[in-house]
Symmetry: C2
Subunit: 360 residues, 2 copies
Amino acid sequence: MSDTTAHSGLDGLDTPFLAVDLAVMDRNIERLAGRLRGTGIRLRPHAKSHKCIEIARRQIDSGAIGLTVATVGEAEVFAEAGFIDLFIAYPLWVTAQKARRLRQVASRAALRVAVDSAAGAQQLAEHLGDLPITVVIEVDSGHHRTGVAPDQAGPVAAAARSAGLNVVGIFTFPGHGYTPGHRAEVAAQESHALDTAAASLRAQGIDPSVRSGGSTPTVGAADDTVLTEVRPGVYPFNDAQQLELDVCTLDDIALSAVTTVVHARGRTAVVDAGSKILGADRPGWATGFGRVIDEPDARIVALSEHHATIEFPGAAPPPGTRLRVAPNHLCNAVNLVDSLVIDAADGVRHWAVAARGANT
Amino acid sequence: MSDTTAHSGLDGLDTPFLAVDLAVMDRNIERLAGRLRGTGIRLRPHAKSHKCIEIARRQIDSGAIGLTVATVGEAEVFAEAGFIDLFIAYPLWVTAQKARRLRQVASRAALRVAVDSAAGAQQLAEHLGDLPITVVIEVDSGHHRTGVAPDQAGPVAAAARSAGLNVVGIFTFPGHGYTPGHRAEVAAQESHALDTAAASLRAQGIDPSVRSGGSTPTVGAADDTVLTEVRPGVYPFNDAQQLELDVCTLDDIALSAVTTVVHARGRTAVVDAGSKILGADRPGWATGFGRVIDEPDARIVALSEHHATIEFPGAAPPPGTRLRVAPNHLCNAVNLVDSLVIDAADGVRHWAVAARGANT
């Protein structure tokens, strides 16, 4: 809690900005890659979390087989940068315009796309049925967002096959694992759903060779008798949610907003990082709108666009103090900046958030 | 709730994107300007909401005396674009680097800055005491974020004057007006706080010629016997929060995310707009994560980065349907896109969100 809390190479930069401790990030990337090396599970990290070419390269260099993305726009950015194996894990509604863009991506990279309805499969086949893209069926393992019930995966897969698509398996996102104390239970539901869906595909004579799951909270409990692939996104950085879910420790958090105290009274301080750099995510179980890395017992009790109000266990630090704040949900925080400030042993550099704002 | 719900000129654009109905926006801008013309209250709109040169020009053309901004970065963008009267309504902690940037802004525009502590005033005076900038003291009218207690405004103003600064008045942000049913009460608190603070300045022999308040929810009840200026931000567009606070009607909402249904089951649909285009803001009193303009009785019950889960009163619209969603808090939504899609009588154009990401 002093002017020198943040790395000295960062001192010349105006706050707020997002800083990445490169040594911690590299350790996080290698730790998960190392854990998976001894299993049959392949790693296909979700690039929506970092949106950054340099970080995706490090993931591939550590053994990832390809990338996961959420949008056609993200696929365009990573295909353009030379990534040759991309999975758009989203049940796209393929219009003529999106089809033109997907065709371009498919000319550069092996492309896998998601389907969760017969209508979506038909739409995809009409526009892109001639391409050698592969299709996986999205399954709802309990998050209740998109995806079909596990026992309906076979019929949807059969409809996709009838439309002329090459169905290679199933995937799910166990997003309901973002609840304290439920990781093992949710990982078991994920395995069970994929197992049921795999049987449903086999009943239609379709081989579910891809059985993809995994999120940062559940990846540690992934069952390698069922899953062939995992798609965590947050693990290179970690954030306040992962800390409060007991997925990581404070030392594992590689990304923070570097902020300055602008107002202090008693035990309360206000810093210059708000929802326009931290994002406004706050699940009901979170202790606040992020966590102060330099004072873990502090609580961020209010957030507006350029203010975070922090209550400290003792006297608040005075105006001018720099503090590091871990966002609750880094995927939305990273998407708010043009570049990440990389704090490395050999100095400070900037990496572009190349797919920032690639929503379509 | 059909493919043609959105204006036909928008149909060729991939979803999601933020569209502005120009006729509604122009009506909103003129309505407030007209209401204030008959009073002694001047309009200094907050540009953080739209971050857009073209919209700021329309505000000035309708009679606004200048702009309010939240950051030095926003001031740089609007000064560069030729706006000559800027107020940074934020208690900046002025470092050497920020001072260099402020000096540049002050070379182009009349600059007013905020102070809410003697330490902040001292810091400002040390770096920029030689410039002809003006200073206003931030007062806490009940929002309890930054600002001093109203009766402490005088002593802080006196400290600023002693440091060599030109104190011209006081300002407050009545952010606690963002609660249903409290607008009139909060507007009264705002007036009372500014009145008390004005007396506190006068007791120090300082003329509080600027008494600035106002937010979109409270501006309609601004007391022109106390306030000389208001700084609403959201009013050109309006959003789901303003709708649910009864500040506007559905017809007054000029900005929406145009989205596509990608998944439907029973009364539930999922669209391709999530927190990466709507923002994740959700006050406790909101009915959901935004409002569906085409079906006001629908509720957005869950939000992730690229998914909004919507419950409809009847059968959900099928995949491929386009829907317009008003974000809860448009300031954060606008900051997520590079440009706004302007839907005008003579066609569709794009306006850059020129100050997007200008956080420092």
